[in-house]
């Protein structure tokens, strides 16, 4: 009876240099259930997991695992207790064979030497039990992410894990691979192993999780049976206010009357861009849709002067331009918010104030000497205006959540008063609340006359925000949709076939 739960964490608290990130959180998982841990970025999910797996020490609270109190001091100790973690990035050894990866550290021996035959045989059996029939003697890195993850799962079964943590394990899998992974999760469940599942994708939660726990701002919101919640209810618990707007807002079509701002014609570059055209008017939000590799980011990089074009022309306000460096493009009023925030956006160890002003120092300095008060004032203005959640202008940007980092980057570009901003996947990996705020901001700036090129893989985001959506397919224009024509169905058919099913909508 008292042993219904495999894991009981009680009153867990944690602070980082006087900022409290977990407030006496209770968290428990039943034996043999799939339990999802939900919350926006910054809710405290990863801190909680890291305390459980021994990466962080806790300031207060108790952890009961399988009836015994544990104090894991590092990942190995947690593993010995029976907690196994499958990360998004595989933490196995790519250069070793599948079987070696499964058995490393607990090799089967015969006469003092490693019995490879037995290891290979048992690995094969183990994977077959998970419904996976692969050559276990091949090196791990020759298989895709999904299979590598399954190998990691097989290993955790072998080491008698009682709880398997899957932290965003599905984020790099395609639909079929997710299906296979879910089958394996069900098999783990059948063997009485509990699974702690973390994912940003709501449909997955509703498909696989038996129950879930929601965290918000480091506190427990509640524990629920998945079947008792609707998707909308879950979202509203996560963001703590009514989720209506998030799911339903549909952009009403604006006929943009502004004059033509940017025109791009017949851009060719390498093997990725095969003659692309694009027109954007002042104050217009134009979406770029297409599959990965269709040429969306590549086109943006050519426009912004990061990559060279082999052929084609770019006009701004009717004048031909040629940018050899991002600095030239910026000088012409362009801005580019990259999809890779970590690598191409933030300067991690600089403060928020510095990150906002750094590309536009002439505004906050005189003769090259920084006016710190002005620099902070500019930062404060944006912190308030676009609601950046921070302890102050002097906080390092790397200590912010993803959504707030993105807002700082947007503030950086907006402070330069651009005429045109390219946003490449601006809400990727960002929690629902910040996502809505960023989308609102995009519409706001376009109302102020800034033209926006919005690259997004999320159709709903394009539908909600764009005046026009240009669909790219294999480095060429597949078609253009306006206003009411922008529907999931139409975008999908253009990507898939290059045609809109029910006539109309084709342009240019």
């Amino acid at each position: 009876m008292g042993n219904e739960y495999i894991l009981e964490m009680k009153g867990i608290s944690k602070s980082f240099s006087s900022v409290k990130v977990l407030h006496e959180v209770d968290f428990r998982i039943k034996k043999g259930e799939v339990h999802a841990l939900m919350g926006e970025n910054g809710a405290g999910k990863s801190t909680l997991i890291k305390i459980l797996t021994g990466i962080y020490s806790r300031d207060g609270g108790t952890i009961l695992f399988d009836g015994k109190e544990i104090h894991p001091a590092d990942a190995l100790e947690a593993q010995k207790a029976g907690i196994s973690t499958i990360y998004q990035e595989i933490s196995l050894i790519g250069q070793l064979s599948v079987a070696e990866n499964i058995y490393i550290g607990r090799e089967i021996k015969k006469h003092g030497a490693i019995d490879w035959k037995a290891i290979n045989e048992k690995s094969r059996e183990l994977l077959a039990g998970l419904g996976l029939d692969i050559d276990v003697t091949k090196v791990l890195s020759s298989y895709g992410t999904a299979i590598q993850q399954m190998v990691a799962i097989a290993r955790s079964i072998l080491i008698d894990a009682k709880l398997v943590i899957m932290d965003e394990a599905t984020s790099s899998l395609d639909d079929d691979e997710v299906k296979i992974l879910f089958n394996i999760i069900r098999k783990l469940k059948a063997q009485g192993i509990s699974v702690l599942f973390i994912s940003h994708r709501l449909p997955e939660i509703f498909e696989i999780a038996d129950s879930l726990t929601v965290l918000k701002d480091g506190s427990l919101v509640g524990e629920y049976r998945t079947a008792d919640l609707t998707r909308k209810e879950l979202v509203s618990k996560m963001i703590g206010h009514d989720a209506e707007n998030i799911v339903e807002v549909k952009r009403t079509y604006r006929k943009v009357s502004g004059e033509e701002y940017l025109k791009v014609s017949d851009i060719q570059s390498g093997i990725k861009l095969k003659g692309l055209n694009l027109t954007i008017h002042r104050g217009e939000i134009v979406g770029l849709a297409g599959l990965l590799g269709a040429g969306r980011t590549e086109l943006a990089r050519v426009i912004f002067g990061i990559d060279r074009k082999d052929k084609g022309e770019i006009w701004i306000d009717g004048k031909p331009v040629e940018f050899k460096l991002p600095a030239h493009a910026i000088g012409h009023g362009l801005a580019f918010c990259s999809e890779d925030r970590k690598v191409e956006g933030i300067i991690p160890n600089l403060t928020i104030a510095e990150n906002i002003s750094i590309a536009n120092m002439k505004e906050v300095s005189r003769f090259g000497v920084i006016h710190h008060a002005k620099q902070r004032a500019v930062a404060k203005e944006y912190i308030e205006k676009i609601r950046i959640k921070t302890t102050g202008t002097d906080q390092k940007i790397k200590n912010l959540s993803g959504g707030n980092q993105q807002k700082v980057i947007l503030a950086r570009w907006l402070s330069m008063k651009p005429d045109f901003i390219i946003l490449d996947e601006p809400t990727r990996g960002i929690d629902v609340g910040a996502k809505k705020e960023i989308e609102d901001l995009i519409r706001e700036i376009s109302a102020e006359g800034i033209s926006v090129l919005l690259i997004s893989s999320e159709f709903e985001e394009l539908i909600r925000n764009c005046d026009r959506v240009e669909v790219l397919r294999d480095g060429k224009n597949a078609g253009c949709l306006r206003g009411e024509e922008i529907t999931e169905n139409n975008i999908m058919s253009l990507i898939a076939t290059g045609k809109v099913e029910t006539g109309g909508g084709q342009s240019e």
Binding site: P326, F336, G345, P348, L350, E354, I370
Partner: protein
Amino acid sequence: MNREQLGEISRKYGALIVLILMVVINAIVTPNFLHINTMWNILIQAFSVIVISMGMTLVIATGGIDISVGSTMALASIIFAKLLIEYEMSFGVSLLAALFASCIFGAFNGILIGVFDFQPIVASLILMISGRGIAQQFNNGVVISFYGNKYSAIGTYRIGGVVPIQIVFILLVVLAAAFIVKKTNFGLYVQAIGDNKTASKLMGLRTTLVLVGIYVLCAFLAGFAASLETLRMCSADPNNIGLNVELDCIAAVAIGGTSMSGGRAVVWGTLVGALVMQLITTMMNMNNIFYAYALVIKSVIIIIALYLQKEKES
């Protein structure tokens, strides 16, 4: 105070703690250590390392490194002495020529690194090896001495008969470096490039210009330090001046807490680091400790300083 706060303090002030320890230990074991002249001597001997390590701090903050500063010192020293003593040119012209030559070395490094994307350690290795050779051939490897010359008193000049001239320049250079880092756009760009070069480029920063500038600045400081050292010693010895100075400078920066992979430049930390390095040497010399032991003790103290400020893995 809990363990984490203690860790925070040791991370932030690790170098300072070691410096204070060194002073205390020296005060106990080293005879006459607390005498004002001992202090002046320590600073005079640390002069080159302090001045050059200010440039090195900025170079390292960009994620780079410059191991050619010793050779640059040799070049500046011999050009300065050759023009001043042998060609009897004016003091100003000789000094400017020496500084200009140093800057050319710096520009060479900077262009290889900033424009052609050479790895900094490889790029500056070129001049580390060949630079001293270039310096030597200016006077066929022969030392130029000028004891008793009208310039021979400059290097040992004391302001008001008390404060050595080196102290003034140490103050000026350290303050200037701190000012650049804290108060100027250039300083911010330097640290941004070291922290995330790709992002810096994408937001339109002139990374190439900043990189060339920073290597020129570092070489300029090496040339300046060499000129004053030449005046103090009344001789230009291209074979020996600045030998291994790059290692002491890099160690000073490392002890001071600037990350070798770039990012935040900790100017005061470098000053403390340079003083720690010098105090170790002084302690060894004044207590007649065998040189080979001195080197071992030096490395142990460096390890302690680095350990104290090790970032906790997260």
